[in-house]
């Protein structure tokens, strides 16, 4: 299995390009975030004064759909909103280049492009960015929106920020030359187990960011003087809470499956389905924390901010597992590492 150097070089170039594009997208999101709300605030004040406290599910924030019969001049979109639009297109472009980088890496080594830490990091970020784009798409198609696209995009910069950091770390400290896989990794289970783990990590990363923003937003909603600049421009707390919850709920069975697939693979590769290897243990710990999150949502007194903290804790466990356990603690998994 020789490594195709040309493809691998192209892959590296695509990787660097995608990081640059994401940085640009992030700046565009933050641009809209910083300057965008002014018009919305004006409109809010003039058009719909009674927006807070209208009970019901997920319908608290601003008016979303034009009230029938009111004439709106199809004015030119203000520039911050155009920044936001550009941010989304840029993100899509970044994701495409990013996906190409993974694809090229896979072609260069003729195997799955997630066989070491650099590749995991990269693939997880792609999953998270795709999760974000899916959220945007669904929201823009939804019949009953509870946040305008502009409000939702307020989250974009905060989703991309950790992604850019992670990618930077993957591309520098964790970078690994294209190489074939260790014998223990040469199994079709790497497709099943690792892709499930990568997708779940990416989506849970997104969920964790949404929960973190939820905590900040709630602090602002409880006392509008707190975090006035930041909190006031985030989507409403219900929206953030729902995004975090939906993402976690959608991915939890996948994450469970990823762990079980790992156990099935371990049975074939290491001679036992479970051996309390540090990586296995920490994955289980993260899983239990997410189970606790779901429980908390069904326990009175634990919904809302407390549950959100549990979700953030889950993310911490996932990141801890990805970095600390892989790099510092040497278990059976660590050959995938540096």
């Amino acid at each position: 299995m020789p490594v195709n150097q040309v493809l691998s070089t192209y892959s590296d170039m695509a990787f660097a390009t995608s990081v640059a594009i994401y940085i640009l997208a992030m700046l565009l999101y933050f641009g809209e975030f910083a300057y965008g709300r002014t018009r919305a605030e004006v409109r809010e004040r003039t058009a719909e004064p009674a927006m807070a406290g209208t009970g019901g599910t997920g319908s608290v924030d601003a008016p979303q759909q034009p009230v029938v019969g009111r004439i709106e001049t199809p004015s030119k979109r203000p520039w911050p909103e155009r920044l936001g639009g550009m941010a989304v297109s840029t993100t899509v472009l970044g994701a495409l280049v990013h996906a190409a980088s993974l694809l090229l890496r896979g072609l260069a080594v003729e195997r799955v492009p997630w066989g070491n830490m650099y590749e995991f990091g990269s693939a997880i970020c792609l999953a998270a960015v795709l999760a974000w784009l899916v959220v945007l798409l669904r929201q823009s198609r939804a019949v009953r929106r509870d946040a305008t696209p502009a409000q939702l995009r307020g989250l974009g910069g905060f989703v991309l920020l950790p992604m850019v950091l992670l990618l930077f770390l993957s591309g520098t400290v964790l970078y690994a030359e294209a190489a074939p896989l260790q014998p223990a990794l040469q199994s079709y289970w790497i497709w099943i187990h690792v892709s499930a783990a990568v997708v779940s990590s990416g989506v849970l990363l997104f969920a964790g960011v949404a929960s973190l923003m939820f905590v900040l937003r709630v602090r602002h909603e409880n006392n509008p003087l707190k975090l006035a600049r930041l909190g006031g421009r985030l989507p409403a707390s219900q929206v953030l809470d729902r995004l975090a919850y939906r993402a976690t709920v959608v991915i939890m069975p996948v994450w469970t499956f990823a762990i079980i697939a790992g156990a099935i693979w371990a049975e074939a590769a290491w001679g036992r389905f479970w051996g309390w290897d540090p990586k296995e243990t920490t994955a289980l710990v993260a899983w239990i924390i997410y189970a606790a999150y779901l429980h908390a949502r069904a326990t009175s007194g634990w919904r809302g901010v407390r549950a959100a903290w549990i979700n953030i804790l889950g993310l911490v466990a996932m990141l801890f597992n990805l970095f600390f356990i892989n790099i510092v603690i040497t278990g059976l998994h660590s050959y995938a590492g540096l």
């Binding site: 939804a142 014998p183 001679g271 036992r272 924390i289 189970a291 908390a296």
Partner: protein
């Protein structure tokens, strides 16, 4: 007084039980479990890697004994870890039993009556349509196929249908929790009935039979296993091969093995199998894994009397990247019937083996893991090996106390390539003949493994159902109205008009019922004549707008 104290005790028990089975306790126990598992990932664990625990002891001489005292190096076998999960599972049982009963009750119950005021529901729409109440009702019945429904006629002549759906959510949730319970039981069963043994076999057609624990180099078993009833099978290792990349990274391990089990044990037929890292042999209910490999240098000793002895003994890899190995090959002198004399003239060849010799002055190291230019750097020791002292002997080294006490003496030190030899003062010749590969096999047996897998699948399926299915309710009320409003049956007038109201409520976590409700109520209203463009439809749209 007696009675009141009994009542008090019962109340206490009941409260404890309630406390233990409450959601909040489950939550706290889940946290505790996660927290308790963490040291198991962060600290070296004795069952996994005793050497790392030793290292930790050396590095933290004061902290280590304290940690050891609380079982921190054996977290998953500790009492406190067991206490947490046992409590959690007691809580789980206590929680599941009443939930099952409640679920059965719900399955038999009819959907709740339509509330008076549907406008108060989180989801609500209404429209006046050009259809009769009957038409609306039958359209509703059609649309709500697959829902559990019940119909009601109200005092003012209005009729309504209440419907509920998504009962499978709770079923999924119960399946999930029961499967979790089953998984724990199956794992515990496995702990009792499993065994696992390691054995080194030369890759030269040597074989190994699973006929008794004494055939193993190491053997671990559950409480119920006494080693007398191992699954019968034999394995022969015909050949072993490793492929390396230029970097020295192995790219493939493969052992060509043959095996006999069941019938073929009697007929003597050998079946072939390629034993690879991800491809264990599964036979006779056991699994055979390839877990390691190494080299065994072959030495021939020619004694002064002319007798020769040849031995090929596995040496232990010290470094898996270069396969530099160490070991000790031990010889008994021939033709010495006198036990004591024989014991005093034993020979041991001990030192280093390199598959690809890299010399640094006279110091041997290995430059590559494959057999390119094998060499050994050995000490030849003569004297008493102490094999019969009754102390456990490692096959990879000589007993150092014998060397220290002077009973075992070094008589030569030399680097040898294949074919080279050392001549000792007494005329004995030690020759390095060549190298044989060996493999490490692991035999594992766990009769509960299929149950563990079954429970794991049920966990995923149950969780998927529980998290993706929404338990939700919808109510439709049709009330006659319109120009001929005095006629409550709505049948006589030329164009019967009906006020249709739809209300919806998600019974589980709020996310995501709105979409479905909007679609459902829209389709329903359209199908009974709220056709686009009519004035009534306009009304419906604005009602929708207000509620979004």
């Amino acid at each position: 007084m007696r009675i009141s104290s009994i009542t008090a005790a019962l109340a206490f028990l009941r409260n404890t039980w309630r406390g233990l089975t409450s959601m909040r306790t489950a939550l706290v126990l889940l946290f505790l479990l996660a927290l308790a598992a963490l040291p198991g990932a962060l600290l070296p664990q004795r069952p996994l890697n005793p050497a790392n625990v030793e290292k930790f002891y050396d590095e933290h001489p004061t902290l280590a004994p304290i940690l050891d005292a609380v079982d921190a190096f054996n977290v998953f076998g500790s009492v406190w870890f067991a206490a947490i999960y046992v409590l959690l599972f007691v809580s789980l049982v206590g929680c599941l039993v009443p939930r099952c009963l409640e679920y059965l009750r719900q399955l038999r119950a009819r959907p709740v009556r339509t509330p008076r005021n549907l406008g108060r529901m989180p989801h609500h729409e209404q429209a006046t349509v050009d259809s009769s109440v009957d038409e609306v009702m039958s359209a509703t019945r059609r649309r709500l196929r697959g829902w559990r429904t019940s119909e009601h006629t109200e005092a003012d002549g209005a009729r309504s249908i209440s419907a509920e759906r998504g009962y499978a959510r709770e079923a999924g949730n119960l399946v999930f929790h029961f499967a979790l319970l089953g998984l724990l039981i199956a794992v515990a069963g496995g702990e009792l009935y499993k065994y696992e043994g390691q054995v080194i076999v030369m890759a030269d057609g040597s074989s190994f039979c699973n006929s008794g624990t004494y055939n193993y180099d190491s053997f671990r078993a559950g409480l119920t296993v006494d080693g007398t009833e191992l699954s019968p099978f034999c394995v022969r290792v015909d050949d072993f091969d490793v492929k390396y990349l230029h970097s020295g990274q192995p790219s493939e391990f493969r052992a060509d093995i043959s095996y006999q089990s069941g019938e073929s044990l009697e007929t003597g037929v050998w079946k072939q199998h390629d034993l690879e890292v991800n491809n264990p042999l599964r036979t006779a209910g056991d699994r055979v894994y390839l877990t390691g490999h190494g080299y065994a240098p072959r030495f021939t000793v020619t004694f002064p009397g002319g007798e020769t002895r040849t031995q090929t003994v596995q040496w232990q890899p010290m470094n898996t990247t270069t396969m530099l190995s160490q070991g000790a090959t031990k010889f008994d002198p021939p033709g010495m019937p006198d036990e004591q004399r024989r014991q005093q003239n034993q020979i041991a060849i001990t030192g280093l083996f390199a598959p690809t010799a890299a010399m640094d002055g006279k110091v041997l190291s290995s430059g590559f893991p494959a057999l390119r230019d094998p060499a050994v750097a050995v000490d030849v020791l003569k004297g008493q090996l102490g094999v019969s002292t009754g102390r456990g002997q490692s096959i990879f080294s000589v007993d150092q106390s014998m060397v220290e006490s002077g009973k075992l003496e070094r008589v030569a030190r030399e680097n040898l390539r294949v074919g080279e030899e050392i001549r000792l003062d007494d005329g004995t010749v030690v020759r390095f003949d060549g190298v044989q590969r060996w493999v490490n096999l692991q035999v594992s047996h766990n009769p509960f493994q299929p149950y563990v897998l079954g429970c794991a699948i049920a966990i995923v399926v149950g969780l998927g159902a529980s998290l993706s299915i929404k338990r939700r309710r919808v109510w439709v009320r049709a009330a006659p109205t319109g120009p001929s409003g005095s006629d409550p049956t709505g049948g006589a007038a030329a164009s019967p008009r009906t006020l249709v109201e739809v209300g919806g409520l998600a019974r589980t976590d709020q996310a995501g019922y709105g979409e479905e409700f909007t679609r459902l109520s829209g389709e329903l209203l359209d199908s009974v004549g709220g056709s686009p463009g009519s004035a009534e439809n306009h009304e419906a749209v604005s009602a929708r707008g207000r509620n979004s």
